[in-house]
């Protein structure tokens, strides 16, 4: 087969089931995609400190390789960043492999235990070594393990994000690189939507997460899984397969769905990613940015503006499911008023706990709330006048 790019007839790389490339052109192309993604957005000044987060999976292994290649170049194409590596420790084998990989490239990697999420102090661990396990902190993971699989996966992503930012601050980095690829971003867009996080997709799936002062950047967002596999094969990289997600969850289901659909409709992933690029927050919510931010994910809280939303409708369903009809039954026009009186007792903690409670105490409850479809931690600001609005209009 003839390479599409250079007409070399030794093409071994077949992408999208129709395009052939030779190895050299393919590697160049992948490098270019990575560089273009960073370059286009003109984020960095020269020699910026960047925290590169390595999970040990395929994506992060390739990211490590791309960065080390970029730094080696001596011409104007040299990647001018100062990378510092971080691995969140969850599994012995993987952590050791990540350390080994980084040593190969003469990079320094800090390995941090995932349980560090709960600790209030910040201890920078010794570089290039496994952290000592603190007996007390290990409970964290157990607490989260009690969550339903979907909520656990969701929480796990938020924990990782918090830890990335925490250590970026310690290590004086203004930017963070993570290794999500197009396929994983397409899946997380659908997962976000399925979890009620539709208003957060801009930060969760886009090129840059703007919620904190420290920006999370996804320089591999244009690289597909297919390309990763070829890259790994050609560069003979050593991969340790593992999977963080808990089974029987929406995230895993959606992952499988997206890859199945991609087989029959090859444009699925790119379409979904293009859709993600066009989505933002509802504009009426964008204004009240000032101090209403979720403590866990730093998203702007969606303050209800009087419009009926699915969240209110769900709450109402819970209320009526607990009421005896006899209390209100016949021809009572004030049904909404009665329900509204009960409304504030329904979620006593949703406004207070979700956003103000100290981390240690709130965790279990937050989990419960999360699974109750109240993902966005919306405080109850309902104005009593507003509730009766429809009713009044009916009467007048």
């Amino acid at each position: 087969m003839i390479c599409k790019k250079c007409n070399n007839d030794e093409s071994t790389v077949l992408l999208r089931k129709k395009d052939y490339y030779c190895e050299k052109c393919f590697i160049n192309n992948t490098n270019h995609k990575f560089r273009a993604c960073i370059g286009k957005n003109k984020l960095f000044s020269s020699q910026e400190n960047v925290l590169v987060c390595l999970s040990g999976e395929e994506g992060s292994t390739v990211l490590l390789n791309l960065i080390s290649n970029g730094l080696c170049l001596e011409n104007h194409k040299k990647l001018r960043i100062n990378p510092i590596f971080l691995h969140l420790y969850n599994n012995n084998d993987i952590a050791e492999k990540v350390i080994e990989d980084c040593k190969k490239h003469d990079f320094v990697v800090y390995v941090v235990n995932i349980s560090d999420y709960m600790s209030t102090t910040i201890d920078l661990p010794e570089p290039n070594s496994l952290p000592k396990l603190n007996v007390g902190t290990n409970n964290t993971v157990n607490i989260f393990n009690n969550l339903p699989a979907t909520a656990f996966n969701d929480m796990f992503i938020k924990i990782k994000r918090t830890l990335f930012i925490k250590y970026a601050k310690v290590l004086h980095c203004n930017f963070i690189f993570t290794a999500e690829t197009t396929g994983s971003l397409a899946s997380s867009l659908l997962s976000s939507i399925a979890l009620g996080r539709g208003s957060q997709v801009e930060d969760d799936i886009g090129f840059i997460d703007n919620r904190d002062d420290i920006k999370i950047v996804r320089p591999m967002k244009d690289i597909s899984k297919e390309e990763l596999h070829f890259y790994i094969k050609i560069k003979k990289l050593n991969i340790q397969h593992h999977y963080d997600m808990k089974k029987n969850s929406l995230q895993v289901l959606i992952n499988n769905f997206v890859s199945d659909l991609q087989e029959n409709f090859p444009s699925t992933i790119s379409t979904v990613c293009k859709t993600a690029e066009k989505l933002g927050v509802a504009s009426d919510n964008a204004d009240n940015e000032s101090n209403h931010k979720c403590k866990i994910c730093e998203s702007v809280l969606n303050i209800p503006d009087g419009r009926l939303t699915a969240l209110q409708a769900t709450d109402f369903s819970r209320i009526v499911s607990l009421q005896k009809p006899s209390k209100i039954n016949t021809h009572d026009k004030n049904v909404i008023k009665i329900v509204q009186e009960n409304q504030h007792s329904m979620f006593p903690y949703i406004s207070a706990a979700k956003c103000v409670k100290k981390k240690g105490e709130g965790v279990m409850k937050i989990g419960a709330v999360t699974e109750d479809a109240s993902q966005n931690g919306m405080p109850y600001y309902d104005d009593p006048k507003r509730l009766g609005k429809g009713e009044k209009r009916q009467q007048s």
């Binding site: 339903p148 699989a149 979907t150 659908l190 976000s192 939507i193 399925a194 979890l195 009620g196 996080r197 539709g198 997709v201 029987n248 969850s249 929406l250 289901l253 959606i254 769905f257 699925t268 379409t271 979904v272 293009k274 859709t275 066009k278 989505l279 933002g280 927050v281 504009s283 419009r307 009926l308 939303t309 699915a310 969240l311 409708a313 769900t314 109402f316 369903s317 819970r318 009526v320 499911s321 607990l322 009421q323 005896k324 009809p325 006899s326 039954n329 021809h331 026009k333 049904v335 909404i336 329900v339 699974e371 479809a373 993902q375 966005n376 609005k389 429809g390 009916q394 009467q395 007048s396």
Partner: protein, 424 residues
């Protein structure tokens, strides 16, 4: 072991609500179900007192429950609505003919006036005939586009303030997923709105927006409502099926995800820099459209010209098709004899086969479409550029030409236009 009703009313529970997980007895479930819809209607400000409302009735569970509920709530809370049923007969044998019987039953049971409009009357084509043309793929495009407009026409005929449709929470969540998968950003933006309709059009409202499909089925079951429960015979090939399958799997793992998806749809919005098509009025039929000419008119034009794929896929393709069509016509008119014998011998067999196939469509086309076209023409002064250039239905004579030409279309579709005269 019997479970007591969650409300503490003393009865035993008969079901566990999919939406909240609470076990309720029959009476409490009825009450909760009805009150929720009342809440949606009042909080969402769907109706004004004294409005005439058309209920889009298909005879299925959703519209049957909707009709029943609206009638109940209208009496219980004194909405003062004037309710009527509006049905569209797509002409699908083995599906719609049976379901319309159910609608007639509803009419008698709920004492509401019923208006039935058929595709045959409105467009000159039944879905059966359309499927014979277009095949099993893409036929939902025709049905959906035509029904949307047919409802508007029906509502205008009935002179109602709004149309209430039976879309439930599952439908809406499914649509959100489908629009994301297809990248249809404009629809994604408006598909979660509880009430849609811009200036000058008849708004549609979805009182069952937050009601789970499963609860609707249970409600209809316990209330012993009569409804029709067969899947459309043409539906299985639709792309929507993928989104539906995903949603069903997701619901099994986490039932609340349906409401979460709707919430996502409600809270996200399209970035300002993204350009969206604006809604306007079709210059041909005066109904809502996002283009100069609405999809229904394009699809219909395609059917009438024997180019059923005209409205499917990219508009650039449609332009090409029309150009090819036009070129063929010119060729006919100039009486240029084909000299291209090489091609002819190759495809002559196909042409004969196609010509015999097309005879049916030719008959139906020249007959029904003529009346339809003249009807449409009366209402319109402006005719769109695209169709102006190629519009054959402007005068009876050209309509005839259209019918005569439909043989040629198909040979053209096979890739050889000049061969036809020789084929005969």
């Amino acid at each position: 072991m019997p479970v007591p009703c969650r409300t503490g009313c003393g009865n035993n529970a008969v079901l566990k609500r999919p939406k909240t997980g609470d076990a309720l007895c029959k009476e409490c479930f009825y009450w909760a179900f009805e009150t929720e819809i009342h809440y949606t209607i009042t909080k969402g400000e769907l109706f004004n007192k004294g409005d005439s409302v058309a209920i889009a009735a298909s005879g299925g569970k959703d519209s049957t429950v909707l009709a029943y509920i609206l009638k109940t709530l209208n009496t219980r809370y004194d909405y003062g609505l004037n309710l009527m049923l509006l049905s569209i007969d797509e002409g699908i044998t083995g599906y719609r003919d049976d379901s319309l019987e159910t609608v007639k039953q509803n009419r008698d049971d709920y004492e509401m006036p019923l208006k039935i409009l058929s595709y045959k009357d409105l467009y000159g084509w039944t879905m059966d005939e359309i499927v014979a043309q277009i095949g099993r793929k893409n036929n939902c495009t025709f049905c959906g586009v035509f029904r949307r407009q047919a409802l508007d026409r029906g509502a205008a005929l009935l002179d109602v303030k709004c149309i209430a449709t039976g879309h439930n929470a599952d439908d809406i969540a499914e649509t959100v997923l489908m629009n994301v998968l297809r990248g249809d950003i404009a629809r994604l933006k408006r598909c979660t709105a509880i009430s849609t309709g811009s200036e000058g059009t008849i708004p549609r409202v979805k009182p069952l927006k937050y009601t789970y499909e499963k609860e609707i089925v249970m409600y209809a079951h316990y209330k012993k409502l009569v409804y029709f429960s067969t899947e459309c015979v043409f539906a299985p090939n639709a792309y929507r099926g993928h989104a539906r399958a995903l949603l069903k799997d997701m619901e099994r793992i986490r039932p609340t995800c349906i409401m979460d998806i709707i919430y996502s749809g409600e809270t996200m919005s399209v970035k300002e820099q993204v350009s969206l098509p604006s809604q306007r009025i079709c210059s041909r039929c005066n109904f809502v459209s996002s283009q100069e000419v609405c999809k229904a008119c394009v699809l219909l034009e395609g059917l009438n010209k024997g180019l059923p794929k005209l409205g499917i896929g990219k508009t650039s393709k449609a332009k090409k098709m029309l150009e090819a069509y036009n070129a063929r016509q010119m060729q006919e008119n100039s009486l240029e004899q084909a000299t291209d014998l090489e091609d002819t011998s190759k495809s002559i067999k196909d042409n004969i086969k196609d010509a015999s196939n097309k005879c049916n469509s030719k008959n139906c086309c020249s007959g029904k479409c003529k009346s339809d076209a003249s009807k449409q023409q009366n209402g319109n002064a402006k005719i769109n550029k695209l169709l102006e250039q190629y519009g054959l239905d402007e005068s009876p004579s050209s309509q005839k030409l259209n019918g005569d030409l439909s043989d040629d279309e198909c040979s053209g579709g096979c890739g050889n236009s000049s061969s036809m005269p020789i084929g005969f």
